[in-house]
Subunit: 312 residues, 2 copies
Amino acid sequence: MGELPQRVKIREVGPRDGFQNEPETIDTFDKVRLIDQLARTGLRRIEVTSFVRPDVIPQLADAAAVLEAIEVPDDVALSVLVPNERGLDRALEHRDRFHEISVFLSASESHNRANVNRSIEESLTGLRLVLGRARDAGLRCEGVISTSFGCPYEGVVPAERVAEIARELRDAGAQEIGFGDTTGMANPRQVRELFPAWREALGDDVELTAHFHNTRGQALANVLAALDVGVASFESSFGELGGCPVPAGATGNVATEDVVSMLEEMGVRTGIDLPALVVATGMARDVLGRPLGSHVATAGPVDWSGAAPTSR
Amino acid sequence: MGELPQRVKIREVGPRDGFQNEPETIDTFDKVRLIDQLARTGLRRIEVTSFVRPDVIPQLADAAAVLEAIEVPDDVALSVLVPNERGLDRALEHRDRFHEISVFLSASESHNRANVNRSIEESLTGLRLVLGRARDAGLRCEGVISTSFGCPYEGVVPAERVAEIARELRDAGAQEIGFGDTTGMANPRQVRELFPAWREALGDDVELTAHFHNTRGQALANVLAALDVGVASFESSFGELGGCPVPAGATGNVATEDVVSMLEEMGVRTGIDLPALVVATGMARDVLGRPLGSHVATAGPVDWSGAAPTSR
């Protein structure tokens, strides 16, 4: 392991992954003000919504309205999740309102089947069309591979199989590959082995992004392990929202503020204003009316001034 | 950083640190059956209680009764926390029922003052007597240094100051030094710098133990960082009990089952039966009547069989 990256990129996925997984649909107005606040924390990448079928995921039926209403600084790259060509058609009606798309599939057949009712090959066939058209439209493209670190239905997912799918996505136009630890099966030793293997398989021109879930509390340890092998791009969710927590009560996505706190404390720059991010999480907590899982939003950022804002 | 340790020691501190921090005193009978269960999980070190003043910490007023009632396998080393000579006197009345003591102080003056109303020098004077007498009684001794990674009242705590206090404890008879991240201020970069410095200051004959809190979600990342620099002894608490969570709702100790899960998944042996440990946490949850913070107790251990016990 070499030197840690001096600076990393973080994509905030809460407005898509978090809002999608709330049992009660969040009001469009609340989504917009949450995204507008997130866009003023120094975050440079935000996944704002998804053009999925509104009858399947009514929580994101207002995707177009959200895209049109948000007001974010020019240096924030907005992305939308696109499941298929129909989703891309809908997204492209608002082409001037976002910069990137993310497409997704699973590295394991049974998880892909359970998630999108297709084989991996069928998914790839569709995504090639989506990626080609998105690139033609001048959009930057990320391909996200779920169950990259293990599958609840199949157990071990061979690293070479994940690499194969990643190469397919790259060849179809994806400039960034996101590796998802969908059900929190990753561990740091594995992370340190897999990313160098995937880097070798994909070459240096593709950005590798780590998307860890905190299902078993190991997300930040996996972030550290990824940093150790040169990964400098991460996805996370403010307030620890979303990430398909299974079983109920379990943790899904790692909280963005927990990632930012650890990285900044280590001297790895994120460009993100942690107190401003904690404000966004506080707003989300008020909107949702329940406590959120984020550690730093609860305990507060580390305070080295010795001001001891709380007892002990 | 070199190879990871192949095997680590874990001291379970929940029966002392966890039970002490419960607002409602736990029934002695329940404490005993929880400890008896923990002692059958493969844990080889358990801190079972503390001989603190019963009027100050009524939650542990039954220290003697617990020690006398528990039935644990011969290969489990039991320790008790001893604050001062009076506590040692009380503990020694049950000398044949335990194997180790732990003593404690803080690395920062104001935290030590707030915690035990003494200066560090006054604490050291008292602990020298305690350690000397405990060693004479054939007990193994651990000295725990709180706020080793930072102090909420003073901010940065110089590594050399922590090392000085550790040397004092070693010279007074402590065979093991526990470094406590009392309010969750440690980060992995710091952990990788501090332990080698402390190892150099203390020599190879003293066992160095890391005691991390998950206040900001970084405990397992800090465990990983400590492993990377050769630390092979940890303290944690089943069910994420205790650890003086501040503010209310914050996390204190890292959950033992989360530590065990990460280590075993990485191939670092703990000797602990994770499902049996999760049973102990389930028993604690039933006794306390509330959900506990442990991730692995909630989500279940990683299952590589592909059996998919839960959906998704």
